[in-house]
């Protein structure tokens, strides 16, 4: 599956390479170099923006601090609605990083002209259009909510699987598998599909026509970041929720 589209592709900017990777070998393992390169750009941008924002913290914010405070307030509100006033503070770093990383990755994939950088194989794009990234994020989310549930209730967390009736046990167990699966495939599918649609349209009609779809792609990207972060927060909140006699 080296070339997904059996079309005569000539235009460099519209060239489609799906499922091709720039392989790096680390020990015995193979990793996707283009994903890491793009993710380093994203992480560098996030850390740089954060350092710029907090270099000189003022009571009356301005410029970068104001912008990042806006972002942080947004994340805090998101976490607060899902986790409640008491618990949300500990989870802001995880949920916030999920949101920021996915959002900046998605928008970076759509807005940065990666095509100008030529790699020996594969192409630079949003880190989130690689299944490995999304699975990594989804599994971390699973770990996070298991940790939240277990640290809150101990092994009693698994007893809650039988709430409100024992019939729920198999469904709850299946849920533990479907949650990361749906999280990772939703994000991966949306971002990849968006990039493919834009690429195909650019290939067919190189001028103006793809612009509305690109805008739609930006919208989808933002929504996907929000959905991932919100769902992660919901799962964590669900795991910490008290059942039975307390409520």
């Amino acid at each position: 599956m080296t070339n997904f589209f059996p079309l005569p592709i000539t235009n460099v900017l519209a060239e489609l390479e799906v499922g091709e990777h720039l392989y790096w070998h680390v020990g015995n393992f193979k990793i996707h170099g283009q994903v890491f390169l793009a993710s380093w750009v994203v992480m560098g941008a996030l850390v740089a923006a954060s350092i710029l924002a907090t270099r000189n913290v003022q009571r009356v914010p301005s410029g970068m601090q104001n912008f990042m405070e806006y972002a942080l307030e947004f994340i805090r509100d998101l976490a607060k609605t899902q986790l409640g006033e008491k618990e949300y503070r500990n989870w802001v770093p995880f949920i916030g990083t999920l949101f920021l990383f996915i959002f900046v990755s998605n928008w970076g994939g759509a807005l940065i002209p990666w095509k100008l950088v030529e790699l020996p194989s594969g192409e630079l794009a949003a880190p989130t259009n690689d299944i490995n990234t999304t699975i990594a994020l989804a599994l971390l989310t699973s770990l996070a909510y298991f940790y939240a549930g277990l640290s809150r209730k101990g092994l009693g967390y698994f007893a809650d699987y039988a709430q409100p009736t024992p019939i729920m046990v198999p469904f709850k167990i299946i849920e533990d598998f479907t949650k990361p699966l749906s999280l990772s495939f939703r994000l991966f599918g949306n971002i990849l599909a968006d990039e493919l649609v834009v690429a195909v349209l650019v290939f067919l009609v190189p001028l103006f026509i793809p612009v509305p779809l690109m805008l739609l792609g930006l919208f989808t990207s933002a929504i996907q970041a929000l959905i991932f972060a919100t769902l992660a927060a919901t799962y964590i909140g669900e795991a910490m929720e008290e059942h039975g006699e307390h409520e």
Partner: protein, 162 residues
């Protein structure tokens, strides 16, 4: 077109040998580790300092609001105190004025009654004097009437009675 200089420790392989959309390999755990590191870094440089700034600002605003509410209450209290003082002073002034009026009234009526008494006494004294002089005049007249009538009788009778 740019070429990316790749780290030399990493052996680069041309063209994918397996590849594919669902090519899951060591990228996944490494990405997870990378993400956790990113979360830790952002926690240190973003969430902690900015969260603290936001919380401190919220505290500051709350404190300022409580402080200004206290000040408003204090101002209202002081205003009330001044108004109370003002009305009591006004009442006092009225009391003083009415007292002074009453005193003046008393002094005036006392002087009037004294003057009346004095006038009465003088009038009494004058009346007593008049009566006395009248008695004296009547007594003198009586005596003269006696002598005159005896002279008249003597003259008529030619002798003296008794």
């Amino acid at each position: 077109m740019l070429h990316i200089a790749l780290p030399t420790i990493l052996a680069v392989e041309e063209a994918a040998e397996s590849g594919g959309l669902f090519d899951i390999d060591a990228t996944m755990p490494l990405m997870a580790v990378q993400f956790v590191i990113l979360a830790l870094i952002l926690n240190a440089v973003l969430y902690k300092p900015l969260g603290q700034a936001i919380d401190e600002r919220a505290d500051y605003i709350r404190n300022q609001r409580v402080g200004s509410q206290e000040q408003v209450a204090k101002i209202e209290r002081i205003t009330q105190e001044y108004e109370d003082a003002l009305s009591s002073a006004r009442r006092e002034a009225q009391d003083i004025v009415s007292e002074a009026q009453a005193e003046a009234q008393a002094v005036a009526s006392k002087a009037l009654s004294e003057a009346q008494q004095q006038a009465q006494a003088e009038r009494e004294a004058a009346r007593g004097e008049i009566d006395k002089q009248k008695q004296a005049a009547i007594a003198t007249l009586d005596a003269q009437v006696d002598t005159l009538s005896q002279q008249i009788v003597k003259k008529l009778l030619g002798y003296e009675l008794s």
